[in-house]
Amino acid sequence: MSTPRANLEVFPRSVRLMLWLGLAALAAFPFVGGDFYVQMVTRMMILAIFAMSLDLLQGVSGLVSLGHAAYFGLAGYALAFLMPQNEATSIWLTLPLSVLASGLAALVIGFFVVRTHGIYFIMVTMAFAQMVFFLFFDNKALGGSDGLYINFKPTVSLGGWTLMDLDDKKTLYFFTLATLLLVYGFLRRLLWSPFGRALAGIRINEHRMRALGFGTFGYKLTAFSLAGALAGLAGYLWGVQTGYINPELMGFHMSAHAIMMVILGGMGNFAGAIVGAFGFEVVLHLFKDLPQVGSVQLGKHWQLWMGSFIVLVVIFAPRGLLGLAGRLGRHKGAVDE
């Protein structure tokens, strides 16, 4: 029997150093980057939160959801419905309710899907996400295929004092960065909690977990709901940033991209999901900007290049970019456990 490869849960020094440098770069970036790039990195950070929420299922619990974008989009729609047409509402109202909407949807859908295993789980999560997608796509009252505009940014005030103005691009950038760090810190803590250890056990051997007395259904359902709520947090920020929400955000491509981000960065440790989200977006832009060679528009076929790229990563760096960084940092001749 071969030994399954453990996730890279504890970071070697090289990876920790890299993460701190990355954080410093993110904190300094708005002071050097222009508005366009500040917005672009904000977007990447939002996707990183989304990818981390999926990693709780995919990397930690071994539940590969192919419908995770549904919970991302639902919170965005919740924000669109909660925001009046002609005035701004408070973040204290819209944020918790939007996150709750996604979490509740995940709880209800999760009740059915976490009973299934393996390929069935993948198919059923996708089927539910497609149902949610078409519910909005085919329904004019829910915005239809055009989606909905969110005319105002939510206000952040306390007792009449405006704490921050999310209309300001740098403010929104730092608000998103703070959220990213908070979610990361929370999930890292959760990874080492009894709940997180039980999820890891379920990933490796659910049958044995049940024989040991763990009610795995409750663990998986909780993880699914929590991941849905955190995806909702990302979707809420997306709605705030773009001021626009449409069914595509809940679609198959969005879910698949999140899976690729988590694989690209390295599964099961949340830092990989962040690295993967940034890496994916950067590579995506590179491929889309490829020049025309002869009569072939290389950039138009970015999906082909992206697919090949992911395949190469899976073959040569099965633990993702983060695992690669960890390996480079080790002494020559050291064996990968």
Partner: protein, 254 residues
């Protein structure tokens, strides 16, 4: 003092037309080892799966520590006091030995995954869980292998780990499916000593092929052939039983 901890009455499992386990009854007592023997395909492992809840019985009843557990899920039966080890090593290969046993011990902590207060605790700092895990690891003789990866230790040590994980759940009844399978002589001897030690405060059901070990350990023997019990009694009575010799022991010695 001995007490009955588990009774199975008329236990039957049919797969289509085949009765893999047919009308089997047995009782497990604290401070006694009850061995189930029989040739391959006799239904021993199926019987173990019926008792642990891995399979639901077609017919019959199982009582465990005063509760009717027939049809219960494996996790509920485990929490009611039954611990089982598997014939095919069934451990968390990607974890260290300690993490395997610690996780098993964690199953006796309050289980409320949905409680947000628990999400911020550190699993490795639960004193009660660590104590349970330490006791189980010391009892099973794996103290020096705590930090080794479970997938990388020897086969015999993996069998010991199976037992350690089961013990960490502090069961009343131990259901051990071929704990000696594939072990060398010295390893098997150590395991026999461990089982004799565990006998004092557990009721043990032992499914085993190693006849030397069975007769060294068992207080009571049940012999199964084709899903049915053909004999049941003390080791001496079984040894001299003509049916058993014809069906089973004779084959082994030939």
């Amino acid at each position: 003092m001995s007490e009955v901890l588990l009774t199975a009455t008329g236990l039957t499992k049919r797969f289509g037309g085949l009765a893999a386990v047919n009308n089997v009854s047995l009782a497990l007592w604290r401070d006694r080892i009850h061995a189930v023997i029989g040739p391959n395909g006799a239904g021993k492992s199926t019987l173990a799966n019926l008792l642990s809840g891995d399979l639901p019985p077609t017919d019959g009843q199982v009582m465990l520590c005063g509760a009717d557990i027939t049809g219960w899920t494996p996790e509920r039966i485990s929490r009611q006091g039954l611990g089982r080890s598997y014939q095919k090593t069934n451990i968390f290969q990607a974890f260290t030995v300690w993490d395997n046993v610690r996780l098993a011990a964690q199953s006796r902590q309050s289980q409320q995954p949905w409680n947000p207060l628990g999400w911020l605790l550190n699993a490795s700092k639960s004193i009660a869980t660590n104590d349970r895990a330490t006791r189980a690891i010391e009892l099973s003789g794996l103290k020096d292998r705590r930090e080794a990866m479970a997938g990388a230790i020897s086969h015999g040590e993996q069998r010991q780990l199976e037992i350690a994980m089961t013990l960490a759940t502090e069961p009343q009844v131990l259901l051990l499916d071929e704990p000696l399978a594939g072990m060398g002589v010295a390893e098997a001897q150590r395991m026999v000593e461990l089982l004799l030690k565990l006998k004092a405060d557990h009721a043990i059901l032992l499914v085993e092929h190693d006849m030397d070990a069975v007769f060294a350990l068992a207080d009571h023997l049940t012999v199964m052939v084709n899903g049915q019990v053909i004999a049941s009694g003390t080791p001496e009575a079984i040894r001299s039983n003509a049916d058993v010799q014809a069906a089973y022991l004779g084959e082994e010695q030939a």
